[in-house]
Structures are given as structure tokens and as C-alpha cells.
Symmetry: C2
Subunit: 100 residues, 2 copies
DNA sequence: AAAATACATGAATATATGTTCATATATTTA
DNA sequence: TAAATATATGAACATATATTCATGTATTTT
């Protein structure tokens, strides 16, 4: 007698993907990633200017993405320069935008 | 004199991407998409069994993903069969999982 | 050293998302 | 037609995410 093979899913395998998706699922954040995706780092002021986002709010998003390992931050004088920590995120964003 | 070209971002262009990302950024939802990605539709019961998710909670996620245009639903007798509406989502999920 | 600039942080609040439980609805089966 | 099965929905609540505003801190400029 042939058993029907049940497909069981280990939800845990999606933990990390969901975690990153949550960290990116926001217009401001997608804008930041896009601005940083040309390899060049940008200061908070530059990002603010380009995205037209309130200083405090942008800072919140940047700090959080940094805490979640998506962005890097380097201080230089009065400025903080943000950049993308792992280039895979750019690839991912590319797919997302393409598939849409 | 050379002007520095400011890069302005139109956040609105990311609205749709962010909308879909939010709709997917959850372990249960990623599990559902994965289970449905083999072209075959599955009933709520089958999904429930495979994902090990409470009926009501799964229903909530399914209904929402359906409302957001990610899933289709077809009733047949006592069952409701869900499937992926737009195959691009699978491609997207593939990228996400790969890049990670 | 005081003022200005660039950014972060905390508190308060608003809004969105996820979860549970009880109950409703549709369909089939007995 | 009553009971069983499969799924949806509403209410209440918990938690997470986003937003605003005031203020703190580090650095530079005057």
C-alpha cells in the first residue's frame, strides 16, 4: 500500500528570511537601500535630503537596520556615513523590484 | 562650475514593493508560499497539517494574502483550495531565500 | 568657551500585525 | 434533518512598527 507522503514544513527555516523581510518592508528603508546600492556610503544628511524624511524618523530606521545587520555606520567628523553591510541585500532588493 | 547632482528618491515607487514585502514577511506566510510553489493548490487542512498552525490563525493569514492579491482561493465541496495568484512571488521568494 | 552642526535617543502616542477563543456559515454525510 | 467537517469571521487582546517632539551628545567652527 502506497503511503501519501505528507509535506511537513519547518517554519524555523524561514525565521531569518522573515526577519530580514520585516526589516526591509518599508518605503523609507527601500529608499535607503537603493540610495546606498551604488557602493558609495552616504551621510545621514545626504539620505535625509534625498529621501525627504524627518531627521529623527530616518535615524530610527537607520539605527534599526544597523542593529539588524543590514547597514554599517562609520563616523567621520560631524557626519555618520551609512553603507550596506551585506551586498546580498541589494541582490535581493533587485529581485523584489524586478518581480513586481 | 560643476554642479553636484543630488539624487532624489521618489518613495512612492517603493509603495508596491513594500506592500508585498509586508504581506510576506512572516514565517507562516513564507511556509504557505513554499508549500504552494509546486504549482499545486492545497486545501486549508493540508496547509494546516503541514505547517502546524492553528486553524483560525492560518485562515487569517490566508484571507489576508488573498485580499492582497497574492493567493487565489477556490471552493470545492467542503474544502477551500489555495494557490498562488502570481508566480512572480515564487521567483521573489526564491531570491530571498537564496540571498540569505 | 560658546555657538553651530550632525546625529542619536527617550517618551509618548498612533497604527499595524499577530494571536486566541468563541461562534457563524457552507457543505457533506449519516 | 441532524450531526459532522471544513473554513471564515468577529471581538478582545498582545505585540510590533512607525511617527512626532523634545532633548542629549559628539564634533567642529567661531
Amino acid at each position: 500500500m502506497l503511503e501519501i507522503k505528507e509535506q511537513k514544513i519547518d517554519k524555523a527555516q524561514f525565521e531569518e528570511a522573515a526577519y530580514i523581510l520585516k526589516a526591509l518592508a518599508n518605503e523609507t528603508r527601500l529608499s535607503v537601500i537603493t540610495l546606498l546600492s551604488d557602493e558609495k556610503e552616504k551621510s545621514v544628511s545626504e539620505l535625509m535630503e534625498a529621501i525627504d524624511c524627518e531627521q529623527s524618523l530616518l535615524s530610527y530606521h537607520l539605527t534599526d537596520m544597523r542593529a539588524k545587520g543590514i547597514l554599517n555606520c562609520r563616523r567621520s567628523g560631524k557626519n555618520c556615513f551609512y553603507s550596506i553591510r551585506n551586498r546580498r541585500v541589494i541582490q535581493m532588493l533587485g529581485c523584489i523590484v524586478d518581480c513586481n
